[in-house]
């Protein structure tokens, strides 16, 4: 039986897809891969293939809406859903025939109890006797409570039940968030089947790192999952510790690292990386003159010559690189950057190939959202997917270059937004809109890039503002999407606080605001907090959003 693989456009999905492809290859399962970037494409892909396929695997899409309702499949069609989007739609949870969810056992889903949200039909039709037509009278009959009282009572109970159901579902569906990375779930599956390979483990690591880079999970969840993966890493990579059995240098090795949180620094210059990493840039406030001065002081404190810092990291003096992490960490502490190091993993193969997990995430994301058109819609997806294989170093390097461009563009845009006071408080949330004609604005018509920009901007804004109330607000950001059609892309992100649970209420809020104003919106993205909106409808939509959240 051939399987149709429907894969969303995010790095975690790509990684999960790679693992599954490897498993399919192992078991000689035939499959067709279709990338889907939103609900429309998912629906179209399903309609196109539903006659040839009975089994559909959905990766990072499909869990958070009622699949059967949307796709109206035949009864013999089955969906296997591996999706980190939460909350999972309750119908998907309780459907035990056509929808099979791949969820990590210890993920706490908090799904409402079946009886609280579904009612068996039979309960309601207790007293319909129409079918007994012409049958013999009962031998014995019980006398029930007065009909009227019974009926009123039942109706009242029913109303109460429904009100409670609405409340329960509202609570359950109010916030969007993310569960365990799909790549990790898929790796777990491979492990359970004893088919896990080091390559698969690396993809699981990249999947998790994607969630961290995109700020989708809490720090706590990240650290926990890193711990889980670390056990697998030592299981798979212990052979190198033993001289006699050491592997050839060409073989891939994964190593745990307590690494610097500086984006792409090993493929860049330390200076560029410091400037274009959200954490350092925001902490040092690099958009201001004082900020630039602080950067110089910071470098001086470390005792690193500017010339060394500004040249390619690879070419830096070996002597300086020794203890570099510790040195930087020490100085960073003095400058209020307590979390400059982070637990992560790196991969080594050959003599000079070393990549940190976040390098891969940035490179793959950039390939996926590359705005230079290089062919049909799916080209970017395929290229991004390919870059995850070790054999495609050229694609990976192209991705790294694109990623640098992207990070620079983000930092420049953040700086200009802050310097020109484009972030404004709307009361219940902060709002920032990019104008048509802003440099690099085209890049931010892509959802992941826009999300990254929003997160970096919010972080920087929180560091720049003195208004304590504003520090606690979420951010809504808009960017031009399609000038000809007059649409903007809009994203809402939760407040930037240390203890943030990364839960996002904008998905539901956007829906309500659009509905109450009849704004022409398209909720096409798998992330419900990303929408497309007609530019003309923006102001009434925002007004509604403000009053809704006030």
């Amino acid at each position: 039986q051939r399987v149709l693989l429907l894969v969303a456009s995010d790095v975690d999905a790509l990684c999960a897809c790679k693992i599954l492809q490897a498993l399919f290859q192992c078991d000689h399962v035939q499959y067709t891969l279709v990338p889907v970037s939103g609900w429309q494409e998912l629906e179209t892909a399903f309609l196109e293939h539903k006659d040839q396929f009975k089994y559909f695997v959905l990766i990072n899409c499909g869990a958070n809406v009622d699949l059967l309702e949307i796709l109206q499949p035949e009864e013999d069609t089955f969906f296997f859903v591996c999706d980190s989007h939460r909350p999972i739609n309750v119908v998907n949870v309780y459907n035990d025939t056509q929808v099979k969810l791949l969820v990590k056992q210890d993920d706490d889903l908090d799904v409402p109890a079946y009886d609280d949200i579904f009612r068996d039909e039979e309960d309601e039709e207790e007293d319909s006797e129409s079918e007994s037509e012409g049958s013999e009278p009962l031998e014995k009959r019980r006398r029930f409570e007065e009909e009227v009282i019974e009926r009123t009572m039942r109706r009242r109970q029913r109303r109460e039940w429904e009100a409670r159901r609405r409340e329960i579902l509202f609570d359950y569906e109010q916030y969007e968030y993310h569960g365990t990375s799909s790549a990790m779930v898929m790796f777990d599956l491979a492990w359970i089947m004893s088919k896990d390979l080091n390559d698969m483990l690396w993809w699981a690591i990249v999947g998790l790192t994607d969630q961290w880079v995109q700020d989708k999970i809490t720090q706590m969840k990240y650290v926990t999952d890193i711990g889980i993966l670390q056990r697998h890493v030592s299981r798979h990579n212990h052979r190198n510790e033993d001289e006699e059995n050491s592997l050839s240098i060409d073989c891939m090795r994964i190593a745990f690292e307590y690494d610097l949180r500086l984006a792409l620094y090993q493929h860049w210059s330390l200076y560029e990386s410091l400037c274009n990493t959200s954490y350092t840039s925001a902490s040092l406030k690099l958009w201001s003159v004082q900020g630039q001065k602080r950067l110089q002081e910071f470098l001086a404190d470390m005792g690193l010559p500017l010339k060394q810092v500004k040249q390619k990291f690879n070419s830096m003096d070996m002597s300086l690189k020794e203890n570099l992490r510790e040195m930087i960490e020490e100085s960073a502490n003095k400058f209020g950057m307590k979390d400059l190091r982070v637990q992560t993993f790196s991969i080594h193969f050959g003599f000079k190939n070393k990549f940190s997990a976040s390098d891969i995430v940035y490179a793959t994301t950039s390939l996926m959202e590359n705005i230079e058109k290089e062919g049909p819609e799916t080209t970017n997806f395929i290229k991004a997917l390919d870059s995850l294989s070790r054999g495609n170093l050229d694609k990976l390097h192209q991705g790294l270059d694109l990623a640098k461009k992207q990070l620079r563009a983000i930092q420049q845009t953040v700086a200009s937004c802050i310097c020109t006071n484009l972030v404004i408080s709307q009361g219940p949330f902060l709002y920032c809109s990019l104008m048509e004609g802003t440099p690099d604005v085209k890049l931010f018509s892509k959802p992941v890039s826009l999300c990254l920009l929003s997160k970096y901007l919010l972080k920087s804004f929180v560091c720049s503002t003195k208004n304590k109330r504003c520090k606690l607000l979420p951010l809504v950001m808009a960017a031009p999407m399609d000038v000809e059609q007059g649409t903007v892309i809009m994203v809402g992100i939760p407040p930037e606080t240390e203890s943030s649970d990364k839960k996002n209420f904008f998905g539901r809020a956007f829906e309500k605001a659009a509905e109450s104003t009849s704004s022409r919106t398209l909720h096409n993205h798998f992330e419900l907090s990303i929408i497309e909106l007609k530019t003309e409808d923006r102001s009434k939509f925002l007004d509604a959003l403000i009053s809704l959240l006030s």
């Binding site: 009622d66 459907n95 035990d96 009886d115 579904f118 013999e136 009572m153 909106l533």
Partner: protein, 514 residues
């Protein structure tokens, strides 16, 4: 924005409107996890027990501010001396017993309060208490045989019978209901009630002024007093009830009529002597009239009653024919309800088992066309009955009558039914075919019948039946093949279509006998 409206629709499903949309889908394709559901059911039970026993203030009447005491409290109060508490507790017990879901009949019985509640039935000074006790006992008696026995053994029969004459109509009505439940348990308690002379006071309640709801209860209880065999109810009891049933059959209320018809059908489901008792009342014309009712709830028991009558003697059957049963049956054979078709065919089969004069009346009244229709496209159970009609007809009918039957086109659907799975039916058909051949032999038309059977693909079917797993079927099929389709070369029987028209056996031909 592309495909805007359609997608907004999809998305609206997400947050809102779940009740209708989701439910629809749930209905179609959700099979909840079995284990999960069982667990939930268990929980539900736990909760209800919890509510009853540990948290008496949260009973199901909560929204009406009714305080539901625990079973313990009910028992104490019922056994106590405080009349007010007795009433409250009996009412509470009644309320538990009259809720839709899981009435705690066993638990209430186990409290041992039935004798006490029977005692309350006699409290003529406290109508409220009498009524609540009567209702509670009614519901206990509505359960299994064991439950009913608990009520009877508590001494409820005489108490309820004397309450039939209570000045309070609602109490006497509740007693009628309770007695109905006791009578419905089976012949033993039914006859115990009759022996206690339940019938006179019960019949006394029937008058033109009796409210309709009350009358329905009485009719139902009466039907239970006529119900069940081994033994059937005592003759003198039946004779007392019958005149009232005839009166009730004239009523305008469909439920009253329906239950009265059922009562008559129980009385006719018996030996010929008992059928005679019913026929003697002159009830048949009214029953036949009711067979023609637009209401299935009336047609079914009326048809059953008349169907039972024609299982009786030829004379009893003739009375039913004289009452017009054959004029009503064509419509019932074509009824939309398969059950009615089946019962009508069953009735007809018993008339067809009668003397040839009665068979002639079947032909005269135009029963053959609807019979053939039913045989060819009726419900399978009805078809089986129709096969019996044909079988009985060919057994008892004259040669002319049998020719008439074949002419009406019965052969084709009859042969088609040889494909049925049911050996008994196949066997009956094969026997019928043999009889048809015997008739054809008398007329010297064997070859023509052979040809007809062959043309209708019957020969092939009969030949195939020689491989049937059932030995009787195999032998019957073999017998027909050997007698009529072998020996002589088939060539002799090659289509003799030349002589005068296509098929000499075609059904509308005038110039042939068969």
């Amino acid at each position: 924005v592309r495909k805007h409206s359609q997608h907004m629709k999809l998305f609206k499903n997400k947050g809102k409107d779940e009740t209708s949309l989701r439910r629809q889908r749930v209905e179609v394709s959700i099979e909840l996890r079995k284990a999960k559901k069982d667990e939930q059911i268990l929980k539900r039970r736990n909760i209800s027990i919890h509510v009853k026993e540990e948290n008496p203030t949260l009973g199901q009447g909560r929204s009406f501010e009714i305080i539901q005491p625990s079973l313990e409290e009910i028992m104490e109060a019922v056994n106590g001396d405080d009349t007010e508490l007795q009433l409250l507790a009996t009412q509470a017990a009644r309320r538990l017993l009259s809720r839709h879901r899981d009435p705690p009949i066993n638990q209430i019985i186990e409290l041992g309060i039935i004798p006490r509640m029977v005692e309350f039935l006699g409290r003529a000074d406290n109508a409220g208490l009498q009524f609540e006790a009567a209702w509670a006992l009614t519901n206990i008696a509505s359960g299994t045989s064991e439950h009913t026995r608990a009520v009877v053994e508590g001494g409820a029969i005489p108490a309820f019978i004397s309450l039939l004459s209570s000045p309070h109509m609602h109490i006497s009505e509740q007693s009628v209901w309770a007695l109905g439940n006791i009578a419905g348990d089976g012949p033993l308690f039914r006859d115990a009630l009759i022996a206690r002379d339940v019938i006179p006071p019960l019949l006394a309640l029937v008058s033109p002024a009796t409210p309709i709801g009350f009358l329905r209860n009485i009719t139902w209880t009466l039907s239970n007093l006529c119900r069940n065999k081994n033994p059937c109810p005592p003759l003198d009891a039946v004779k007392k009830i019958l005149p009232v049933l005839i009166f009730l059959l004239q009523h305008e209320d469909k439920e009253v009529i329906s239950d009265s018809c059922w009562a008559v059908s129980y009385l006719t489901d018996s030996c010929n002597d008992r059928i005679q008792v019913v026929v003697d009342t002159g009830i048949l014309p009214r029953l036949v009239e009711l067979m023609d009712s637009p209401d299935v709830n009336v047609v079914t028991p009326a048809l059953r009653a008349v169907g039972n009558v024609v299982t009786g003697t030829d004379q009893q059957t003739q009375e039913a024919i004289d009452a017009g049963v054959l004029t009503v049956l064509p419509r019932l054979l074509r009824h939309t309800k398969p059950v009615i078709q089946k019962e009508a065919a069953w009735t007809l089969s018993n008339i067809a088992a009668g003397p040839c004069q009665q068979i002639q009346q079947i032909i005269t009244c135009g029963l053959l066309p609807p019979l053939v229709e039913l045989l060819s496209k009726g419900d399978f159970k009805a078809q089986k009955e129709a096969v019996w009609v044909v079988a009985n007809f060919t057994t008892g009918g004259t040669v002319d009558q049998v020719v008439e039957l074949v002419r009406s086109g019965v052969l084709k659907p009859l042969l088609n039914l040889l494909l049925a799975k049911d050996s008994k039916t196949i066997l009956t058909i094969l026997e019928t075919i043999s009889k048809l051949f015997m008739a054809a032999e008398k007329l010297g038309e064997t070859e023509k019948l052979c040809l007809l059977v062959e043309e209708l693909d019957g020969l092939e079917k009969i030949e195939n039946l020689q491989n049937h797993e059932n030995d009787m079927v195999y032998r019957a099929a073999l017998d027909i093949i050997e007698k009529y389709f072998s020996g002589e070369e088939m060539t002799d029987l090659e289509p003799q279509t030349g002589q005068d028209g296509l098929y000499d056996f075609s059904v509308e031909k005038e110039d042939f006998n068969f």
